[in-house]
Every structure is written in structure tokens, then in C-alpha cells.
């Protein structure tokens, strides 16, 4: 199956070249070409893709702003002519960095890394732990998955809301997304991860969890419908 991608790039010849590389590979389908931050966020708000080819200096901000705003975590390949951005790339856990202009061979090598990490993450998608440890108030606290209702982002911190009480810990939703038991939890919004078994009610773009209203982003809606087995 082909990987889906978008190209976020303001230089037309670079975008065309990248499209050509994707077509030539026969392994990637280009869903859209966005030339600025807003366009990219709007597209990703209503569509999900496996991969983003992301330029950094684009109109409306930086390419990294796109990653900050979207509700899920597709693979990312940075495409820029400035190697200084490689460091930021590490912080955003990007898979590779293509310095423009690049050869098809270099593109192909980056694609192999994407395919390798995709396979690895699928193989690792077996986190069946029934609990997690969080560091809160200077202590390590064991939280049973069954006791957690949802996890909410608070900037650099997250709030674990359990049936008994709330815990605040230094962490991010993006990081926790891959750490929690993915069979039991689902990220429904860039600021929320929800325990599927605790959802009482679903209304339009909102989940009700023991009285709390949790928003569902447009980008997550399809996955939420799939996971909740809505018929």
C-alpha cells in the first residue's frame, strides 16, 4: 500500500521536483501541496497523511508550527536548504533531512528510513501494560490504566484525570501518545488522550467522559469513529 503525504513548500520548482520523486518511487501518493503554514494546518485539520515533506522557512511562520498545531504525529522529512534546522528537526523527531536540491537516490534513501520506522512502530504497537508510572509532586506514582479517564495537555505539563483525583506531570501529549497502551487509549485532539472504555457519550465532535466534555479534532474524527465502532 502506498504512503500518503503532503508537500509543504513555497518554492514551486522544489515542490514539482519532490512530486516527481514521489511518482517515480511508486510508493508515495501526494495528497496536497501547501505553500504556507495556514494552508498546511487547514489541510491536516481535515485529512490524515502518513508523511509530511516539510520546508522550514515558509510564509506564515515556520514549518515546525505545522507540527505544533496538528493533532496527530505523521512521519516528517524536512526539506530545506539550511542545515542549521537539523537540530530543531531532532527535537521534533523528524525521520530525515533532505538538503535542497537533492538527488533521487538521496530521496530514495530517506524513503527507506520512513518505511523502516513505519514497520518498527507497527511491530512495537503492542504496549499491553495495564498501568503507567508518572512523576508527580516529586514521587513516582503508579496509575492503573483502568483508573485513568483522560489526559489533558497543559502546555509543558499534562494532567492525568483519574476516577479518584488529578495528577499533574511534566510531559506532553505528543510524547504520551506513543507511551500509553494504544489499545486502551486514543488521542482525540492535540490536547487530549482519552481512555476509550470511559467514554459515556459521543456528541458530534465531543466525547463525554464522566461529565467532562472532551473535544474531538477534525483530523482525529475518522480514527475515533473507527475505534468506537460506531454503526
Amino acid at each position: 500500500m502506498k504512503l500518503s503525504c503532503i508537500i509543504v513548500e513555497d518554492l514551486q520548482v522544489a515542490a514539482d521536483y519532490l512530486k516527481g520523486c514521489c511518482e517515480k518511487s511508486g510508493r508515495i501518493e501526494v495528497k496536497a501541496h501547501c505553500t504556507n503554514v495556514t494552508e498546511a494546518i487547514n489541510f491536516l485539520d481535515t485529512n490524515t497523511v502518513d508523511l509530511i515533506f516539510l520546508d522550514v522557512e515558509i510564509p506564515g511562520g515556520q514549518g515546525f508550527d505545522v507540527l505544533d498545531k496538528i493533532a496527530y504525529s505523521p512521519k516528517v522529512i524536512l526539506t530545506t536548504s539550511k542545515t542549521e534546522y537539523a537540530y530543531n528537526g531532532f527535537e521534533y523527531n523528524v525521520t530525515d533531512f533532505l538538503k535542497k536540491p537533492f538527488s533521487y537516490q538521496r530521496f530514495s534513501d530517506a524513503l527507506k528510513k520512513i518505511e523502516a520506522t513505519t514497520t518498527t512502530s507497527k511491530n512495537n504497537d503492542t504496549n499491553n501494560d495495564d498501568h503507567i508510572f508518572i512523576k508527580s509532586d516529586g514521587k513516582l506514582i503508579r496509575l492503573k490504566n483502568d483508573d485513568i479517564l483522560y489526559i489533558e495537555s497543559m502546555g509543558d505539563y499534562v494532567k492525568f484525570v483519574s476516577t479518584e483525583r488529578k495528577y499533574v506531570a511534566l510531559n506532553t501529549i505528543k510524547n504520551l501518545e506513543t507511551k500509553v497502551n494504544t489499545r486502551q487509549f486514543i488521542k482525540v485532539h492535540r490536547s487530549y488522550i482519552v481512555n476509550i472504555s470511559k467514554v459515556d457519550n459521543i456528541r458530534e465532535n465531543t466525547l463525554l467522559v464522566k461529565g467532562a466534555e472532551i473535544p474531538v479534532s477534525k483530523a482525529s474524527k475518522a480514527e475515533v469513529i473507527r475505534r468506537f465502532n460506531i454503526i
Binding site: L11, Q12, V13, A14, D16, Y17, E57, S81, K100, S103
Partner: protein
Amino acid sequence: MSDRSTTTFTFSDSIDADYIFNMYEDDYSYIETMFKTVLDHFDADRSGILANFQQNDLELLRKAVHKIKPTFGFVGMPDVLEKCKAFENKCYEVQSIKDIEVNYKDLLNTLEEAHQVIINEHNKLASFNRSAA
């Protein structure tokens, strides 16, 4: 510059043919298309540089040069790309537009010469591809 040539098409001395073949191999039709794309957007990208210089906006001037910079890689002109990069770096070092006026004029001349080279090369490629069809 490389003196690489093929029996079918020879790039001018201003173009690094190895650079071109590394990206497009010998797909001349594709190469022509890419040159055309560069030409279609060249004026707009250069206008961004001119406008930001006239508006005395050093950061936007740097960004405009940063944007156009890779263009020259896609048409086999790494020297021009490097010149853009040097200008971009210079923008970080200076305090105001006035401090880089000389560099700016030099860059504009380089861009103009490069533009003409790209036009000529595109015409040659178009003619070659028509005759090969």
C-alpha cells in the same frame, strides 16, 4: 564547471551538467520542464527581493533570498546558490540594509546573469526536445 556532455545535448559552461544529471539523469524533457518552472516563477521570486530591499526590511530580504536560493541548484548553478547563501549569512551579520548595499547590487547582477543563462538553456533544451520528438 563540468565539461560533461552527451552525444545528444551539451549544456553550456555556465551549467554544471553533473549536477543536472545527478538529479534528472538524462530525461531532457523533464529537465526542460523544470527549467520552465524556474522561469515561470523567477520574476515573482526576484520581485520579493527587490520589494523587501526597497522597504528596508532586512529579515524579509534575507527570507526572499533564502527562498530563491535552491532554485539555482535545480538548474545546475551551484555557484549562484552559494552566492545566495553567502548573502543570506551576511544578512545575519549586519545591522541594517545599508550595510549590505554593495553585496545586494552584486547579488542582483548575479541573479540577472543567471536568469539569462536559464532562459538560453531552456530555449536550447526546448529546441533539442522538439527535434528529438
